[in-house]
Each structure stands twice: as structure tokens, then as C-alpha cells.
Amino acid sequence: MLGLLGQQGSDFAHKVDYAHDVVTILSVICTVAIVGVMLYFAVIYRQRDGKDHETPRIEGNNTLEVIWTVFPTLVCIWVAWLGYDSFVALRTPPANAMEINVTGRKWAWDFTYKNGKKTTGELVVPVDEPVKLVMTAKDVLHSFFVPVMRTKADVIPGRYTYEWFRPIQTGDFQVFCTEYCGNEHSKMLARLKVLPKAEFERWLADDSEARKLASLKPSDRGKELYVSKQCVTCHSLDGSPRVGPSWLKLFGKEGKLADGSSYKVDENYIRQSILQPQAKVVQGYPAMGMPSYQGQLSDDDITGIIEFIKTVDGTQKVEVAPALPKKSAASRAGTTPAERGKALVNDSGNLCATCHSIDGSPMVGPSFKGLYGRKEKLADGTEVTVDDAYIKESIYKPAAKIVQGYGPVMPAMYEGKLSDQDVADIIEYIKTLK
């Protein structure tokens, strides 16, 4: 009815929302009525001439006391029942629910499926199927909150708690940690990805990447991640300058940070730079150049990357697989140009979403929301209107016209990777983000 809690993602969400609606309506009526009566009395019984007038000595009224004891009691019983009823739905997973193990740790969420598939920071589930999360924590208390599903439960070291839901629509949804757990509490986020059933089955069965990674020695695992997690976009292996420092003979290197203090690259420095890239930025590199990988890499992943960096001596070569096959699949995914553009933007091979948000939030680059048609001031002080030509130029030659306040950090890798048609589709998509 009122829709105050937003989109409903689970089949019991409407029960919670109904209880919420009822109590909202009752609360507003009661508050308005009581405050209204108070203000009414205040107006009609005010002292008009600043002097006391004669008042009756009314000390109480038993009938009224009974009425306003019994009436709130009845309302409370009704409302308590609504809360109870929705709670029972939240706490009663069907027997056939698919179980997924969830581990909370400072500061990421790990998910393990029955077939051994593991993910970090991304919970993938099928639509219309009940899912039960069996949860525990490694270190301190956490809490797994999926607003759109209307459910939440604390995640506790040394014991198991659970929550469940049956998603009623596909899409990507936000997961928060809602029990305070220390420094990166507000970054302990995850994504809930609800897929169509067939797509989910394919995703679940495809454990090739995980199996491959698990069988590798740490430095090879790091090498794989170097490509698959797109480190390669900004960090070269041969000493050539890109957006970030090259990894060539990086380990053990010393130098100065942006704030003038000195650094030495060791295991902890690399770990921190992956999780909190802005903490210690090397002089001469953009302060906001790298997004955090908090929650996206497991501890083993990070160890692998560190071990790989230790080995980089200029002899390594990596095959950067052309993203084209993947991309072309994505570009056919939608039917309208804007839908194809959306698929391209979200395609992990293209990386747009790493630096450009679609909700207006500032990231490494300008948000796509409201971008089209806007006037932007460039770093050199001139002004441009964001139109087709500007966006196309920015994709193919990112360094040409940089908006004030942003760094020259976007890689010039899209020429040849994205066709003119692709770019036109992306522009159509940006136009829809108002």
C-alpha cells in the first residue's frame, strides 16, 4: 500500500510491509489525534488577558481511564499479532530450501555452495526457489541484512544462525553488514544476484575457474587473478607506465608517498593497497585512481597476488584474452540499443562499472546518471556539453578532455575493443539514466 520500505524482493516481504503499513496508519492517526487535542485545548483554554480564570477541579474520570487502558490494549494485541505472523514467515524455511553456507569475517562475506563452489562478496541465487543461508562468523559479530528481502540475522562466531527467503524477481540487490564490526564495517557489503533458474544452474555448475585457481600454486593463482580481476588494465609487468605503478621488481621497492612520507613495498603494504587503495598512494599517481577490492578477493587470492608480484622480473608475459567473445555475447543480450548498452556497461570485460556509477554517486570517474546533456567544466577551464561526440571521444581517447576534479586514469583500451555500434548503444543507455 504505502510502499515505505521500497521494492519487495521476497515472497514474504508483503507480510512485513502490511504490518508496517497498519502500524504506520495507526501511529499517524494516534499522534495527530492526541497532539491535535492538546493544541485544541491550548487554543481554546488559553489565558486571553494574561490572568488566571476560574477552573473546575476535575481530578479524573474512571470511565475515561478504563477506555484509554482497554483501547490501546486491543490495538496492541492486533499489532503484536501482525508482527508475530510476519516473523513466523521469516523464521520458517521450507524443507526443500537450498542451503548456502555464509561466513562473515572482517570485512567480507564468503559463500559456499553444496557442490563446493565458493564466492566472496557475491551471493548468487535462483529466482522463485527458497534459499536458506546457514551462517557463522570467523572473528566478531556481524549481521547479514538484505533490505529488499526484509530479512536479517546476526552472524555469530562459534555457532550457526540462519535466514531464508524466496526471491520473486531477478536482479542485483544490496547486502549490508548491520552489526558493528570495526574499521571497515561500512565497507562490509555484498551483492545478491538473483538469476533465472537455468542461468543459475549453469553458473553453479561452472566451477572451472575456482577449480583451476584452487589447484594452482600461489604465484600462478596471482597471475590468473592479475588478468581476471583486471589488475592488468592499470599495472604493467614490464615497467611501462600505466595508471598505477608497474609491478616490475615492485616487491621491496622504496620511495615516497603522496604525503611525503616514505614507503617500502612488503606483504602488508600490498595487502593494504589492494583493500584500501587510497591509504598510501605513491607520489605521482592519482589519489582516487584505484577502486577497493575489499570483499572481492579472498585471503588466498591476496596471498597469490603478493606471491606473483614477488616473481615479476620482466620475463613474465600474460595473455590478455580479448574480451571480444564475451562482449559480443553481451551486446546481443538486449533487444533495444539502450539494453545492449546496459549489457556492455555491466560486462565485466569492459570494466565501465568499476569507475562509473549509475546512481549519481561519485567514483573514480563521473557518474553516468544525468550525464547526457550536462555541461561539464574541463580541467583546462573550458566547458563542454556532454553529447554523442564527446562521449565517443571520451571512450576512444580518454585523455583528450578530462572533466575538472577527475584524474587522467581511464585506460585507452576501448578503441578496437568497442565498435562504433557498441559506443552508440552505450550512449543510448547513458541517455536513459536521468
Binding site: Y45, R57, S143, K152
Partner: protein, 541 residues
Amino acid sequence: MAAHASAAVNEELNYLNWQKGIWSWLTSTDHKRICFLYLFAILFFFLAGGVAALMVRTELAFAGPQIITDPHTYNVLFTMHGVFMIFLFVVPGIPATLGNFLIPLMIGAKDVAFPRLNLFSWYVYMVGAAIGAVAMFNPVDTGWTFYAPYSTTTGTSVSLMVFAAFVLGFSSILTGLNFIVTIHQLRAPGMTWMRLPVFVWASYATAVIQTVATPVVGMTLLLIIAERWFGAGIFDPSKGGDPVLMEHLFWFYSHPVVYIMVLPAFGVVGEIIPVFSRKPLFGYKMVVISSMAIAAVGFIVWAHHMFVAGISDFSAKFFSIVTFLVAIPTAIKVFNWVSTMYKGSISFKTPMLYAMAFVFLFMVAGTTGIYLAMLGVDVYYHDTYFVVAHFHYTIQGGAVIGLIAALHFWFPKMTGKMYNETVSKFAFAALFIGFNLTFIPQFMLGMDGMPRRYYDYPAQYQTLHTISTIGAYLNGFGYTFALANLLWTALFGKVKAPRNPYNSHSLEWQTQSPPIHENFAEIPVVTEEPYSYGTPTGRGH
């Protein structure tokens, strides 16, 4: 009253000037002077906690880092805000200041039952405060709730800070005991239980909670220290302990403590509305019974803070149902306050404005509390900004507004001066608007699912956060202005207060302003109810 005639012999001598010098204050066992000792101490921590809150709000004004560059400092600030406001400001709040000042005056006694114990309580409070201040050298980052195992593993000085809270607890227990004995033993002739002003009743209910509940938190805090120093394993699951046990023990105190904070404010409102309406308090007996009922039921609702904490579904259901039992006596109080104004002769002095604002704010606090008592809805709202907004309406809108209302109302009695009405009303308006502007957006943030204790947040929440921050500054300005006005008038005010500026019928107004050292020249004899306003034949307006 009997006090009139003989007190007039020497109007000039009063508790403020009969002894001079700072030492005479620091060694005074006069309950009225001890009120001021507490008042300055708690207002100092109100200021410190307020500054921490404004830094937190400033950081949250926009998404991304603003004035605080690392999350740890942010975590320290919201912890500092909570610990200072709860343990050092609001819990001692009304009882230690106004309770101290008013209870003996209202019941017609010369002082509390144990005056030296009363002074000792203040020193215990100051020792606790000093330990807390030392802990600020490596400030705590746990939040005021000290949940294990975070609190037992973090590197900050948790042990020192919880020891400070432990010591502060003793101050609270001793004050509570003192009040219970005072109210039982020192009532003037004719001051029967059913003639006690509701403020005394509320203080009595508060004192019972203080003495019964506080030892439990003391024990809990010591267990945290045992866990940190000796690895006792009480809360550590790897040693067979249970972190949820810590939550049970903590809330067994910390839920009743909400009533320690807010019951005295109920009492204040119950005093103010009859005086400015010229009407007896409607349903006096029900108001008294509901105070005691809230205190009693308050002890069996603690786990409603833990619906998603891993407690059994059965206990969640039990604690939800008993929580609704608190709503009923609270509603009765509100109905009675409003009915008191019926056919009154109402004047809008500043204390009355605060009292009426209190009714509105408390309606919001109470109705949003219903959302959180409802199981299915609480699962959504738990640990979101909705909860933050709800308890600020309860604690700030209730306890703190009650304290500020009381400071205005009894200011003439406490200082012998009249405050400036125009300035006070202006400050009230700033404070009231600022408060709502701060916390209404936080209810909306909660509806959108924004979790609490977040250093940073997704951009979709930014607009509401910005509005909330603007409100917080206005709110802070209002408090500063209101309190500065009172302080200024107390020190430099020219307008002398008469004995009974509001023509009140209760006992504290029948002695001189400010009262003499032992309150009454002669112990008064009480012959009437405290709210005997109006006439049996009066017809109202």
C-alpha cells in the same frame, strides 16, 4: 503554610550564600549544592558528547570521507558520543540534579536521608568520570554497547572505559538508595504517599531501577575485563563461552536504564502541565500506578534488543509480547497529561512549551517504538537508522527535553532569579525545529535500509543525511543558546524571583527563593494534595 512567617525573618540568607568559597561547595552536604556540583559535571559531558555528535554528523553530511580521514576515528567519535551521553550525562541527568534538589523540598524534609553519602556519590561519579577521561588517551571504538567479542579483542582501552562505567554505576546505586530511604522516612507530617508530587513518585520508581539493575551491568563490565586480562572465556566461543550472553547481561541493565532516563522526565511534565493549566493533574493515581508499572515491566523486556541476535524464536515471541505491555501505561500517561489541560487556564511560559513539545516528541518516540516491538518489522529495522532516530526521540526528546524543561521551571527556585522568557522561547524554537530536522530524515533513512554505525554510505542516502546534519547544527545551537541564557541569568540576572512565581501549590514553592540551607524554617504540615487547583464549582472558560 507554616514556613511563611518565620522564613521572612532573614530573606537574604540562603543556601547559596550562607557559606562562601569553592571549598564550602566541594565539602557541602546540602542536597541543593550537590545538585549544582552534578549539574556542572553532567553539562560538561553533554557538551563533549554533543561536539562528538556534531563531528559525526559533519562527517556524514556527504558520501565519502569529509573531515575524518579514517574510519577508526569515526568509530571512536560515535563511541565517545554514546558513552558520554549515556553514562555521564543522561543516566545521572535528572535524578542526580533535579532529583537531589527537589525531593527533600517536595516532601518537606531538611535534606536527603544520608547527606554525606550523597556528597560521596558525587565524588564517586567524578572518579568514574576521571577514569573515563584517562581512557580517552587510547579511546574506545566499540560503541557504547561494548558487544563481545569485539570489545574483548580490540586494542583500545576498553578495560579502563568499562571500569569507569562500573564506578559510575556505584554512584547511581548510592543515589538511588538515598532517595528510596529519603522518600520512605523523611516525608513531612501530612505528606501521605498519595499526596506525593508525581515527580517524587517518578524519582522513586527510578531509584528502585537504579538499585536493582545497576549491579547487573557492573558484573557484566567486570566480566569483560576478566575476559580481556585473563582470557576467562565467558563470552569467547572458542573456550565454550557465548557472545550472546554478554548481550543478555548488558540489556538486562541497559533496557531498564532507559526508564532511569525517561521516568524522571515524565515526572517533570506531570509537574509543569497542572501549574500552567491551573488544573489538578488528571488521573493522579493512574499516573502514579503507570510509573510503577513501567518500572516493573521494564525489567522483563530486555531481549527485545536482540530479536535478530540469535536468541530462540520462542523467547523472541515472549519478549515481543511483554514489550507491548510497556506501551499501555505509557499511553495512559499521555492521555492524562493532555486531559489535564481540559477546561484549564493555560499560559505558555517556556516550561509549558517544553512540556507540550515533550508530549509530541514522546508520541513519536512511543509509536515508533511499536514498530520495533513488532517482530517481523523489527527484523527489518534492527540496527538501521530507524532505531537511531527512535531512541533519540526517546532519550533526547524525552529525557533531555525533560531536563531542560525542569531547569527552566525550577530555575527561579534554584537561583532566586527569573530567566528571560523571550530569549528562552527563541532557544526553544531553534532546539525543537533542529531536533526534528535531525531525526525525521533518519527515520526515512531507516525505511530505506541504511545501517547504523557506518562511516560511509552509498550515494542514494546522501540527501537525507545532508538534511539531518543541518538539523543537528540547529539543534546544537538551540541547546547552547538555552543553557547559555540560563547560565548568564543565574550569574548576572537582575530580576529577582519571588517565592512562588507560578502560584504553584506544591511544597517546594512555599519556601523562599532560593531556599535556606535546611529548606524550611519550620517543618511544614501538609494538608492538601499537590495539585489542588481550581474550585469545585469552577466552570472553566
